[in-house]
């Protein structure tokens, strides 16, 4: 049974209607794929892609969130296997109790395993551990011809494997995956915090110290001007060892906390976030951060997924929604980074979630986003006047610097822009054409960016 449902991404812009079904097994996925109509089919997870990556207007959308089951941890091989609809949150909870942690998690744990692989997500440890694709040992992919394929970086059709990692769900439907894990002593992070006074000191401190930490991330105040332009709050962490914990926490060191502490009510009016409210927030946030703090024990979930504590935080942007702009430019292209930060500051663009990271090794996925360099991610209200022109201008600079946009977050780029950013697109298309010769798998993103 399918129902016509209005779907949008996490940014709540440009919704479209599709028929939605909820397969509960790989067999049902294969059956649904065989029933795809002329408007195509697509798998969807928890809907955390910001743009239109998990929508398929007029088509059939397989909501895979019921494709779940108990994660299976293999401590000998240091890997966990789970159905693709299992949330990262559930996998982390399962692993932590057993003294392990996932190799890579994005900034929210409300993503499915299948979606995480399809977007080749990265986390705050990208500089140390690369993206999730680097840790996938194997995955099960059902292609539109009904074939079930076991793929991995060293077995099966490796070309199809890498086209699937970061392939935005356009090569088939992932139904199960095995990814690497690592042992941890506690469910805590040992966090060092530093405030930086401007962009130069932010970049310098990150470049100088992030090799020494597993996790690093910097919040940047994009509304700061003049001498404070690019000031930030840099946090870096390791998994805490037992001896890092204060005594009370040592009694139950692997206790995992996931409590949602706040909920944003529906119906928040648009325009609440403007340069004045966000400016005030940014200043307060910056001033509240310690100048320098060392060794603070913090629950790992709170450190890695701070926004998970605020349920429905995407609603604070009101009905018109918001866009997230994330790009990466190579090391050495700091000028591009500076131009974007200056452009946003000059435009008074109210972004209170601006996150800067240094990225490490990329995976061979032709559509994978991460590559060594600087990545900046920021949220902006979609109804900000002149936003299209501002971001199109940034796109040009990013292309010139040899950088790219993140497809899981994009919702407004032009096809030619993205084609110029992903030189592997032609190779990816050829592989996809083998797996899906009739072009059955489709998304609004793929239509808008003319990917497939």
């Amino acid at each position: 049974m399918s129902r016509r449902t209005l779907l949008s991404g996490w940014g709540r812009t440009a919704p479209t209607v599709a028929h939605v079904t909820h397969p509960r097994s790989a067999e049902q996925v294969a059956e649904a794929l065989s029933q795809a109509g002329p408007r195509g089919v697509l798998a969807r997870g928890l809907g955390r892609s910001y743009g239109d990556a998990a929508q398929a207007a007029g088509g059939l959308v397989l909501d895979c969130t019921e494709l779940t089951g108990r994660p299976r941890l293999d401590t000998e091989r240091q890997e966990v296997t789970a159905p693709a609809g299992t949330s990262m949150e559930r996998i982390i909870a399962h692993l932590l109790r057993r003294g392990h942690f996932v190799s890579v998690t994005p900034g929210t744990s409300h993503v499915t395993l299948g979606g995480a692989i399809a977007a080749d997500v990265h986390g705050k440890n990208h500089h140390a551990d690369s993206s999730i694709g680097a840790h996938v040992r194997s995955l099960t992919l059902i292609t539109p011809d009904g074939r079930t394929r076991r793929l991995g970086p060293d077995h099966g059709d490796t070309e199809l494997f890498w086209a699937t990692v970061g392939g935005m769900g356009l090569t088939g439907v992932i139904t199960e995956a095995t990814v690497g894990v690592h042992p941890v002593e506690t469910a805590y992070a040992r966090v060092d915090t530093d405030r930086t006074r401007d962009l130069d000191s932010t970049l310098e401190l990150m470049a100088r110290t992030d090799h020494a930490y597993r996790y690093t991330v910097c919040w940047v105040d994009l509304l700061a001007k003049g001498a404070s332009l690019g000031r930030g709050v840099l946090t870096r962490a390791h998994h805490a060892r037992l001896t890092d914990l204060p005594l009370p926490q040592r009694r139950d060191p692997l206790r995992h906390r996931t409590a949602t502490s706040m909920t944003v009510p529906p119906g928040v009016p648009s325009g609440m976030l403007n340069r004045y409210t966000v400016g005030a927030f940014n200043t307060a946030y910056y001033n509240a951060a310690p100048h320098r703090r060392r060794g603070q024990a913090q629950p790992i979930g709170g450190f890695l997924h701070p926004l998970d504590a605020v349920s429905g935080w995407n609603r604070v942007y009101g009905r018109s929604g918001f866009v997230q702009y994330q790009f990466v430019v190579p090391l050495g292209a700091e000028d591009t980074l500076r131009a974007v930060v200056e452009g946003l500051s000059r435009a008074g663009a109210p972004s209170f979630l601006a996150v800067l990271k240094r990225m490490g090794e990329s995976t061979p996925g032709p559509l994978s986003f991460p590559r060594p360099g600087w990545t900046l991610a920021l949220d902006l209200p979609a109804d900000l006047p002149g936003l299209a022109r501002l971001l199109n201008g940034f796109d040009e600079r990013v292309i010139e610097a040899g950088g790219r946009l993140y497809l899981a977050k994009d919702s407004r780029a032009r096809p030619e822009t993205v084609h110029a950013m992903y030189p592997g697109l032609a190779a990816w298309r050829a592989t996809r054409a083998r797996a899906d010769p009739d072009g059955v798998l489709i998304s609004d993103l793929a239509r808008r960016l003319e990917l497939a």
Partner: protein
Amino acid sequence: MRDSLGSVRTVLLLGGRSEIGLAVAERLVREGAREVVLAARGGAGDAPSVFKALGATTHSLDFDAEASGTHAATVTAAVELVGDLDVVVDAFGVLGEQAEYEADPLAAARAAAVNYTGHVSVGLAVAARLREQGHGALVVLSSVAGVRVRRANFVYGSAKAGLDGFAQGLADSLHGSGARVLVVRPGYVATQMSRHVDPAPFPATPGQVAEAVSKGLRGRATTVWAPRVLQPVFAGMRMLPRPLWRRLGR
């Protein structure tokens, strides 16, 4: 597809020579549209050079507003040319002279067919396609002339009244489908079509109508007035007693 900031890829203009329609299409091209289909009787002729200069590809289609039997095929042909229809602008129509219509009922009926029934057949064909796509917008060029029909141009006005009602009903029928209808009610717009008519108060230019349409498409509006002041003005007009209304000039 529409993107998160409201730009679209494709535009189908029904009434490919309409000045207002072309102004709307140009506006959408400036905002990022890349494929424009101009549909007009005998084809739309040469597309305005500004479309190409802005990087858009234009296509021409033969479209006869009076030949309702061909309208579904016209929509299919547009889809074959550009794929999904992101915005369809329904802008064809004839204004004519009221006195001539009163002297020639057949001419009046033909004008009514263009101004009303043609929109019904093509509007339903477009709506079917948009429903199937699960997204897209149909912009219907109505008129304040249809809000309250005047003695001075009641053939034209009554067809616009019918069109306006049809468009509102169509909008309701598309609710929940992912597709939408935007009803546009301009007042007097100085164009070739209205050259023989004296300007009315609160005139608008095609560019101003295009701006109102663009703004309406970005938000969730179901109706836009161009200029906006016409909405309260016509709220008052509707209250005017009939004997007074009858004597109103043009």
